[in-house]
């Protein structure tokens, strides 16, 4: 792998509820290379969003990032441990060095302010431009994300825009300070497929132009194969499999990955001739006590060992997998 921009070591995030503790992310370790697009795949409760909120240190009470978690972010030639930074120091990183875009663009803008001022806001907040300069910079950014009539649209309020246009605006906002890392949390899930293709194209274009690294969170395995460089597969807060995107998709090692791939209908599959594989059971509830492998109860290859003990991660040829009976 190329130079690392971010190293996550043993990230554990818990939520202390009244009656129980919920471990949303369970000692997760991974790296993000510079210029890399990394996909984090998971279903609800897999911990994919909490992982990224943890990186941004946006975990509030009753949540807690454990003290032994390391979130090492490269700053020049040394690494900063974000987990040890104060809130004041984190504020300087958020929106400047690491920025985020979210699933629902209409819920992420303030409905009471014009879009132009919101897009340039981070430049002003981080002290790089005064308000007027920030607005001019915002216009340039809107042009860069291909918004037609951008100087007029900058005067609009969020409710006047379509979902796709708003998502472009949010990307412009996130890119304002030239971040090293962009975290995109299900950025296309709320969009139509044609708009999704446009937004993915825009993200790819900007990533190539700026050389930033991207963490792309999604539940949709089909999206990431040729869009991302590497994939992490999470299930119930644990890493199940990691590897080069194409390798993982074409040659999954974990039963969960393989089952997911088999259960997604592909165009060209018809009910008369193709049987759709259905994974039995359901995703574990948050806080559910799991002794062995989190996927054991739904896995067709489950053995007594899988139910008794959680397998460790094994690593071979740049692939990681957490399974006693991994396919090779």
């Amino acid at each position: 792998m190329k130079e690392k921009i971010l190293e996550i070591k043993n990230l554990t995030t818990r939520f202390h509820m009244v009656d129980r503790d919920i471990t949303a992310v369970d000692s997760l370790s991974f790296d993000l290379g510079s210029h890399e697009i990394l996909a984090i795949i998971g279903e609800s409760g897999s911990g994919k969003s909490v992982t990224n909120l943890s990186i941004m240190k946006l975990i509030d009470e009753p949540g807690e990032i454990s003290a032994e978690s390391r979130i090492l972010f490269r700053d020049g030639d040394k690494y900063l441990d974000l987990n040890k930074l104060s809130e004041k120091e984190m504020e300087r990183i958020r929106g400047d060095r690491i920025s985020m875009i979210f699933q629902e663009p209409s819920a992420s803008f303030n409905p009471l302010f014009r879009l132009g001022s919101q897009v340039g806001e981070s430049l002003h907040l981080h002290g790089k431009r005064n308000k007027e300069e920030a607005y001019h910079e915002a216009l340039k950014l809107l042009a860069q994300v291909h918004i037609p009539n951008f100087s007029l649209r900058a005067q609009d309020y969020p409710f006047q825009m379509s979902g796709g246009m708003l998502q472009r605006m949010m990307i412009a906002q996130a890119l304002a300070c030239h971040p090293d890392i962009l975290i995109a949390d299900e950025p296309t899930t709320a969009l139509d497929v044609t708009t999704q293709a446009q937004i993915l194209g825009l993200l790819k274009e900007k990533q190539k132009e700026t050389g930033m690294s991207v963490i792309f969170i999604t539940h949709d395995l089909a999206l990431v194969e040729d869009f991302c460089d590497r994939i992490l597969i999470l299930y119930a807060g644990s890493l199940m499999e990691e590897g080069n995107a194409r390798d993982v998709i074409s040659n999954p090692m974990h039963p969960y990955t393989r089952d997911l791939l088999r259960s997604i209908p592909k165009p060209g599959m018809f009910k008369d001739k193709d049987k759709l594989f259905a994974i039995p059971g359901k995703v574990p509830d948050p806080g559910e006590k799991i002794e062995g492998c989190p996927y054991a109860k739904r896995c067709t290859g489950c053995t007594a060992e899988c139910l008794a003990k959680k397998p460790d991660i094994t690593e071979k040829d740049g692939r990681k997998v957490r399974c006693f009976h991994a396919y090779s």
Binding site: V193, H219, P267, K271
Partner: protein, 306 residues
């Protein structure tokens, strides 16, 4: 079983205090189709194409402005499965009452029969039969959708309209629900109108697929035919941007131009004109009709073929 002719539904916009404008959203602009018994009609399209309005117009939830809906036999029951099982179950009702409510509404059973019927239905949709006394919050999303399906089939409907039945569920749960719908269709001889934005899911589930755009059906064919010989440029676009594992489609490199049409101020021509890479002069001035092409079971509304 169901014939729909020239269905039109326009939603009036609330006029401002000082304006007398009578603007309206052209949600459905003349939709016709037929649905046979035990058949699944798939309807695919993007947000705003009128697919949910169509479903609601057929059921009379949003009565159409004009057009005909003919049921054969006329007393055929219709039921609905909604997208979000978290919003479509009454949190204060026990599951046994939820799942048998349509039967009681139709006077098929009395209160006394509820536990027995609930057990039968729960088993039919793959849930433990003694869960009838639980409340919706005790169930996961997939289990809730099973309850919704149980409720929909309880009154022995001839037609069930499924409006995005899996799009709010986890990926690993979706195929369970799709398989359950197919299994129940086999057992109970139901016809489905299956509405979704995901063309892969619609192709898989349906016997006939209609593609909707801006309140029109723009193409209609068997799923096999639609997949291998798409005619309408919009269908081709949809197929080119649907993510597909193992095909290396690079959907992020697809060139997509133009904007979705304004449903309030509709232009006179083909609604896809503004985004169509193949458009001709006639496309801007006149709306193409849905007509069979070379094959009689493959219709398309596009000037390229007329």
């Amino acid at each position: 079983m169901l014939t729909v002719k020239n269905l039109v539904k326009h939603y009036p916009l609330k006029a401002g205090r000082f304006s007398s404008s009578l603007e309206k959203i052209h949600a459905l602009n003349g939709v016709s189709f037929t649905l046979g018994s035990r058949q699944t009609l798939g309807i695919v399209g993007e947000s705003g194409c009128g697919k949910s309005t169509l479903a609601k117009a057929i059921l009379g939830i949003k009565p159409p402005d004009s057009g005909q809906i003919i049921l054969d036999p006329p007393d055929t029951r219709m039921q609905y499965i909604f997208q979000d099982p978290y919003l479509s179950l009454n949190p204060k009702m026990q599951v046994k009452d939820i799942i048998t409510e349509p039967m009681r509404a139709a006077d098929m059973i009395t209160r006394h029969d509820v536990p027995r019927e609930a057990e039968r239905l729960l088993e039919l949709v793959g849930l433990p039969k003694d869960w009838g006394t639980k409340y919706p919050h005790e169930f996961s999303g997939g289990q809730r959708q099973r309850i919704c399906i149980g409720r929909a089939i309880s009154s022995k409907p001839g037609i069930v309209i499924c409006d995005e039945p899996v799009s709010s569920l986890d990926v690993s749960i979706q195929s369970q629900i799709l398989n359950l719908l197919l299994e129940l269709q086999d057992k109970l001889n139901i016809s489905y109108i299956f509405i979704a934005h995901n063309i892969a899911v619609v192709l898989y589930m349906s016997d006939i697929v209609s593609v909707m755009y801006a309140g029109y059906i723009v193409e209609s064919a068997t799923p096999q035919e639609l997949y291998s010989n798409p005619m309408h440029p919009y269908t081709k676009l949809l197929l080119s941007v649907v993510p597909e594992i193992g095909r290396n489609k690079r959907i992020f490199e697809q060139k997509i131009t133009g904007e979705v049409p304004d449903l309030i101020h509709m232009e006179p021509g083909c609604p896809f004109y503004g985004r169509c890479p193949m458009h001709k002069d006639v496309c801007r001035t006149a709306i193409p009709q849905l007509k069979p092409g070379e094959k009689s079971d493959h219709s398309c509304a596009c000037w390229l073929y007329q």
